[in-house]
Amino acid sequence: MLENIFRLDGKIIVITGATGLLGKKHAEAIACYGGIPVLLDLSKHSVDKLAAELNEKYKTGSIGFAVDITNEDAIKSNVKEIVERFGKIDGLVNNAANNPKVEQSDEVNFSRLENFSIDNWNKDLSVGLTGSFLCAKYYGYEISKNINGGSIVNISSDLGLIAPDQRLYSKLGVLEEQQPVKPVTYSVVKAGLIGLTRYLATYWVGKNVRCNAICPGGVENGHPNEFLEKVSYKIPMNRLAKVDEYQGTLLWMLSDASSYLNGAIVPVDGGRTVW
């Protein structure tokens, strides 16, 4: 039995933002351990393609849906479709978020707080927080109907625990008031997910639904060397994460291996938040 505690055989697990950099890896980990990843993202083409890849490689019954998770009606009908097909939902990975790249424009830097538009604020919160709430409301509720409940994993961030060090994003030769920054919505969304995690961890606890959060550090993804050097200095392990270094934690949280883990906020950040 012990050797199987990480298995997810037959578990129907919904992943939002499934075709993103980390979403793909989450889906792969689930499929590799016998689970059936249900892939949600905006593009039907991308989710179908990923499902086909996973089905070919892992012989799982993965399926993709183009769902805008900020649209309550879309989620409602998607839950119905999933339950009609599989009869249940066992897990949810709230992974979708706008990841605003730190950008620099010639005139005004719109990522800066003093220029940050209410429109972008609403958009980012809508995907990261409202989307996660709606997914909990529908997919989570479906999980709570199982006799053995299930597991919800929220993907927060090290920046849900600490402030971004804006000096990391600064560019030489750029005026102070135009320096690029990590937008305020990132911190707010990721911290909000920690609140949602604690709320959900206790809300359905009588129904055996556990909820935990991963706070991943940054992932190496073609960053310029200058940034890598600066950011590594802030991380005890002296590097960013590899893209597959969150799969283990995710499997642990989704499977029976973590059957007594609930409401945990787990930084997986090479030690960045320790310093």
Binding site: H45, D48, K49, N55, G64, A66
Partner: protein, 257 residues
């Protein structure tokens, strides 16, 4: 001969291999834009990637669709509408000749074959006709010579393929002059991974004999040979042709009187 297919937007179902894939390549060679559709196998996306490399990413995309499911076809139509806004040509190629040899297959088997071979074509046509009417486009069904004569193919398959020909003629008459509707009826087509490939692997000698006895040209058709006719029928060079069935069978049906 200038087919004037450049820039046309073409949807091809059953395009993960064989005839459908050859048709897609044919259109891409003529500088048309294609959407290749099948039931979401990894093969489909590998084809997409390969074709994108050769013909540039903006000219080809793949879509997962179960053409026996109306909801799935509607989703496909929505996506095509978003990406392309309009559509000029639809090639309905979904089909599967595998059934049972009995004279009259039982009701379940019949229903399954009918759904795969006729209803899928019917519903795909139903969903996409409004776009074709708007663009004054072209619809081509891929039937089979099994829909014309009783060669010994499964009864349900043969009947479904015959129904496609009847459907096409009726649509051609009633949609003229706006949409041209035609059928291509291939004979025995060989491609790697196809049903004939499998049969040859099992008993090459027997298959050789069948071909020799039945096909005056004494060989299989290549998918590209079917594709060429489809391209012609969709082209401006065929603009007075509607309601026909093009038989491409190396003379197989000629011998039948």
């Amino acid at each position: 001969m200038n087919l004037e297919l450049a820039g046309k937007k073409v949807l091809i179902t059953g395009a993960s291999q064989g005839i459908g894939l050859a048709i897609a390549k044919g259109f891409l060679e003529e500088k048309a834009k294609t959407c290749i559709v099948s039931r979401g196998s990894n093969q489909l996306y590998e084809n997409e990637q390969e074709l994108q490399k050769k013909y540039s990413a903006e000219n080809i995309f793949a879509m997962n669709c179960d053409c026996t499911n109306v909801k799935s076809i509607n989703e496909l139509q929505k996506e095509v509408g978003i990406r392309w806004k309009n559509l000029d040509i639809v090639i309905i190629n979904v089909g599967n000749g595998q059934s049972v040899p009995s004279a009259l297959p039982d009701a379940d088997e019949w229903q399954r074959t009918w759904k795969n071979n006729f209803e899928s074509a019917l519903e795909t046509a139903r969903v996409f006709l409004p776009m074709l009417e708007k663009s004054k486009g072209v619809l081509v069904f891929i039937s089979s010579i099994a829909g014309m004569e009783a060669f010994g193919a499964p009864t349900d398959y043969s009947t479904a393929k015959a129904a496609i020909i009847a459907l096409s003629k009726n649509l051609a008459r009633k949609l003229a002059p706006n949409v041209r509707v035609n059928v291509v009826a291939p004979g025995n087509v060989y491609f790697k991974g196809g049903t004939w490939d499998e049969k040859i692997k099992n008993n090459k000698k027997h298959i050789d004999e069948i071909i020799k006895a039945n096909v005056p040209m004494n060989r299989f058709a290549a998918p590209e040979e079917i594709a060429d006719s489809v391209l012609f029928l969709c082209s401006e060079r065929a603009k007075f042709i509607t309601g026909v069935t093009f038989v491409i069978d190396g003379g197989q049906t000629v011998g039948i009187t």
